[in-house]
Symmetry: C2
Subunit: 183 residues, 2 copies
DNA sequence: TTGATTCCTGGCCGATCGGTCAGGAATATG
DNA sequence: CATATTCCTGACCGATCGGCCAGGAATCAA
């Protein structure tokens, strides 16, 4: 085999894709493994063959956004504060739009994420990004950056009828207004 | 009996109170009637004696905020747009802080609220409030008002360590920045 | 063709879910 | 005191939950 055998990856990808849609529309704990299996066109046992339990499916759903967020943080960390803030704004808006489905799931799982140690780094990454967004150590500005993130994520949750471009413009405008930056 | 016998109300209130805490910390669908009963110090059957099913418990949890939101909308509806916007901002921030626990629950249940017809008026009230907040019919301003509400609600969700006053100031500042109003 | 490996499934398990019901304790009423 | 009403509960129900396992189908290696 040149790469990993495609059949395995194809099934896994379908399961993750359908799980994301279901987690998004019904919530994580209200979605059963049977729901996922039916949507993915396989049996519940197949889901558990590919993923070591329900949390593992959630982890796979969250993985791409986690990687992207970590990459953004790493890039911002090597820039002076002002440039890091600029990068955080533009790139974070892009990521939020791109991963808007996952954002939904993440918000849903947040209250119970303490019991899932494999996701603590994702939370930490979000907190670090808040620092870059705020652009200063002023508590109010930091809190406003948090506010902005919440607004952005919340907006992405119910943005089914908006196009990517509209959502992008909206989030960018709101972020700059909250942070008092020029357009 | 002069008023309604207090014992009934006392049990009901305890159930609703504990249900709110649990819905907030674990989410609605991840909270079982047994959880609520244990926290309230009674049996699961007692919960179902006082409330006609799990959704009825949720309804009771949401009731006070629903009433307050409806009242705010009614008051704003009789004012000219500019004054309605001013009222919406100050009063909505107050309500969000006061009912921050319920806000958590509401956000959690939002994705599945379509299947719960008894809550559609609550959603409608939220949409109406968005209109008052925006202060104009401009789509961007309306979208920004939505963004602000999402930010505010999101902020209230994870505001466990903030005092009411801090939360109030933060939300007020953020709202005015997003809507480009004087402080 | 044969044997090994990968991928998948039906059937089963114990636990828990929301919900029902007959009846016991407590309290109010006479 | 007796009696009626309110308040509460243990036991139970069918359904579904996440998860496990033995083994069948399909693919690959020889």
């Amino acid at each position: 085999m040149a790469t990993t055998t495609p059949v395995r990856e194809r099934t896994r990808r379908e399961i993750v894709q359908q799980a994301m849609v279901l987690f998004q529309s019904k919530g994580y704990s209200a979605t059963s493994l049977q729901d996922i299996a039916t949507a993915a066109g396989c049996s519940k046992a197949t889901v558990l063959y590919h993923f070591n339990g329900k949390p593992a499916v959630l982890s796979a759903v969250l993985e791409p956004s986690r990687a992207a967020l970590a990459e953004l943080n790493a890039a911002a960390a090597e820039l002076p504060p002002a440039e890091a803030q600029a990068l955080a704004i533009t790139r974070f808006v892009e990521l939020a739009v791109e991963f808007r489905g996952v954002v939904n799931v993440l918000q849903d799982v947040l209250p119970t994420i303490d019991e899932m140690p494999e996701f603590t780094d994702l939370i930490a990454a979000g907190l670090r990004l808040t620092g870059f967004l705020a652009g200063s150590d002023d508590p109010l500005e930091r809190a406003l950056a948090e506010f902005a993130i919440n607004g952005l994520l919340g907006e992405c949750r119910h943005a089914g009828e908006r196009t990517d471009a509209e959502l992008h413009t909206l989030c960018d405008t709101a972020l700059r207004r909250i942070l008092r930056l020029p357009d």
